[in-house]
């Protein structure tokens, strides 16, 4: 009964609000567009950064051998620790919880020659799983290193896409011969373009990868500059790093509890930090959007205050005729909600249109735009927007409605 009376009164009073309603709805729609676009931008940024971050590899820790900081079996601290290519299978065997271990040996400023062109480049000698772990996916027509390349010490090379373009120009490098310090290598593949955020040594696009065995034969060394471990699930990383010390300590001669023997970049931990930062950015954008929407809400409330004032006598009459306070305030609350929801719907539709249109804007080639990603809508954005809209609508209706209900019919009806 209550609801029906309120709805009936609402319909009667809403009839006249035409033009004002349109303006108010437009303000709310604008606020909605602002909040949705900001959140969509944040979401796009988050997705893109997440993708960028993962392009170096997922759930990995990069480890640089360093010096001991604790004494071990009578040996004083400060001893440099040597990890070689042979330690890689040793670790893999004793740490079955790891999904991969790879060792890397680096040769900086190596002459890479094709025809008349020579470029100074970085050459990495590494294990075959590197391709998967470090996401070196070959472009069509090529491949990454395969196990026989490593066991047979083949002279094959996989090129980063930018390095390949540097050396070969527009030619397809696959199958061609590249001289590495005047040793002939066959190019087996070129890496697919990827946007890389985290890196050590340099971007993957700028280096050449050869089998670690070939590297040793060619350069005469296999002392690892760095090695990488990968776990299946991010939460397994801390235990794995602790276990690593226990496995390597006795073999290489350092205290297993000596955490500073290795310089460790735990990407799981740093991605968590970045995730928090991105959530922070999202909240920040959301607040800006919500404030914009709030201004729309204030507009609604303002107009409804004016309506309440204008209809003071009418409200007084209704009260004299026996309308309860909630029958007076109900239609105002409903009106605020309807304006807000209609405006919200319009704004949402417009936002979807804009986001879709932005999706067609080409970003390829523009590094900044590529890095930021494209505005993306998601269910949580929809839910957050709907929630904020609902709250703004209720508040926008509630305060004017409260004033309306507080009108004293006795005083209202007295003045002419």
């Amino acid at each position: 009964m209550n609801a029906r009376v309120i709805f009936r009164l609402f319909l009667q009073s809403a009839r006249l609000a035409g033009k004002r309603a349109v303006l108010t709805i437009a303000a709310i729609a604008w606020g909605t567009v602002a909040i949705v676009l900001l959140l969509a931008f944040g979401e796009g940024l988050r997705l893109q950064l997440d993708k960028n971050r993962r392009s170096m590899g997922e759930n990995i820790a990069v480890i640089w051998p360093g010096e001991t900081t604790k004494p071990w079996k009578g040996i004083p601290p400060g001893r440099s620790i040597r990890v070689t290519a042979d330690d890689v299978p040793y670790i893999a065997e004793r740490m079955p919880e790891l999904s991969a271990v790879i060792g890397e040996v680096t040769s900086w400023r190596t002459n890479l020659t094709y025809g008349k062109k020579t470029v100074n480049g970085r050459v990495i000698g590494t294990n075959v799983v590197y391709g998967e772990v470090r996401k070196h996916y070959p472009k069509e027509g090529g491949r990454f290193l395969v196990p026989t390349d490593e066991t047979e010490r083949r002279r094959v090379v996989f090129l980063g896409d930018e390095l390949a373009a540097d050396v070969f120009g527009k030619e397809d490098p696959v199958g061609k011969t590249l001289l590495v310090n005047n040793n002939a290598f066959t190019v087996v593949g070129v890496m697919q373009k990827k946007i890389q955020m985290g890196m050590y040594g340099g971007p993957d696009a700028g280096h050449a990868v050869i089998p670690i065995t070939t590297f040793k034969a060619l350069f005469g060394r296999d002392r690892l500059n760095v090695f990488v471990i990968q776990v299946a699930k991010p939460e397994e990383m801390p235990a794995a790093l602790k276990h690593l010390g226990e496995v390597l300590g006795p073999k290489l001669g350092f205290d297993p509890t000596d955490e500073r023997v290795f310089g460790t970049w735990d990407t799981v931990k740093s991605s968590k930090t970045m995730g928090n930062m991105l959530i922070g950015i999202q909240i920040f954008l959301g607040i800006i959007g919500a404030l914009t929407l709030l201004i729309g809400g204030v507009g609604v409330a303002n107009i409804m205050y004016a309506v309440v004032k204008e209809r003071t006598r009418e409200i007084g009459v209704k009260m004299a005729l026996g309308a309860r306070a909630s029958w007076i305030s109900g239609p105002f609350v409903l009106e605020g909600l309807v304006y807000t929801l209609v405006g919200g719907m319009a704004g949402l539709a417009l936002s979807i249109l804009i986001v879709t249109a932005l999706g067609f804007v080409p970003t390829a080639g523009n590094k900044a735009l590529e890095f930021m990603g494209k505005p993306t809508l998601s269910l949580p954005i929809g839910i957050a927007t709907a929630g904020i809209l609902g709250a703004v609508g209720l508040l926008a209706g509630y305060f004017p409605a409260r004033r309306a209900a507080a009108i004293d019919p006795a005083t209202t009806l007295r003045y002419e």
Binding site: M1, V5, M319, G322, R324, L413
Partner: protein, 241 residues
């Protein structure tokens, strides 16, 4: 016919005011608008309340109509004590027991005469079918059966006041309270409205009319005169000349 039922009902006291005081507290100054009113109105009476402006007539009207509650004293309407009711209960009492007729008509301008009359029935929770019948019935009674779908702006002052009377009668209230009902009308329309009030009185409707209009007051059954918040005269109209 609901009005015939109430007309046939045995006479009894509808309004009973005992020692009513009303003080308006405006912060620094306290204004005592009513200084002890005792008034009782029986069913079927036609009472005119007269007095100069500022005498407390409007305050009395607000209290009688349950738009306001007294500072002191007991007010019973139809046997129901008004003191201590919540705003919503007070609204219900107004809806069921009091029909208002204002000097300024106070019709809602954007809805039709019919919808205006229907409004108290909506508040009273009367089912749609019965509501429509009743609204049409009271509009017929004030002679506006052919103007139901007109908006107030399309009606003359006298017609508007007739709509207001129909609205006051819609819920078949215990009393009809009219505040200067002819104050905004020309002489012809005024006597027209007066005629309706006399008809209602003849049908046994309880009427309390606050008025300056001595012609109207004299035709009431009883005149109550207020001065300075007190009743100074309460006599049958015949003696009031």
């Amino acid at each position: 016919m609901a009005s015939l039922i109430s007309a046939a009902a045995p006479p009894g006291t509808i309004i009973e005011m005992t020692g009513i005081r009303k003080v308006y507290d405006t912060g620094k100054v306290k204004v005592e608008a009513l200084k002890g009113i005792d008034l009782s109105v029986s069913r079927g009476e036609f009472v005119a309340v007269v007095g100069p402006s500022g005498s407390g007539k409007s305050t009395l009207m607000n209290l009688l109509g349950c738009l306001d509650t007294p500072t002191e004293g007991v007010y019973r309407i139809g046997g129901e004590t008004v003191a201590g009711l919540t705003r919503d209960r007070l609204a219900d009492v107004r809806n069921r027991r009091v029909g208002f007729v204002f000097q300024a008509f106070n019709l809602l301008p954007q809805i039709s005469a019919f919808e205006n009359v229907e409004m108290p029935l909506v508040f009273g929770g009367v089912p749609v079918k019965r509501r429509r019948e009743r609204a049409a019935e009271v509009l017929e009674r004030v002679g506006l059966g052919d103007r139901m779908d007109h908006k107030p702006t399309e009606l003359s002052g006298g017609q508007m006041q007739r709509v207001a009377i129909a609205r006051a009668l819609a819920m078949d209230p215990d009393i009809v309270l009219a505040d200067e009902p002819t104050g905004n009308l020309d002489t012809t329309s005024g006597s027209d409205i007066m005629g309706i009030f006399l008809d209602l009185a003849a049908q046994g409707r309880t009427l309390v009319v606050i008025t300056h209009d001595l012609a109207l007051a004299r035709r009431a059954g009883r005149i109550v005169e207020i001065r300075d918040g007190k009743i100074v005269r309460d006599v049958p109209a015949a003696e009031a000349a």
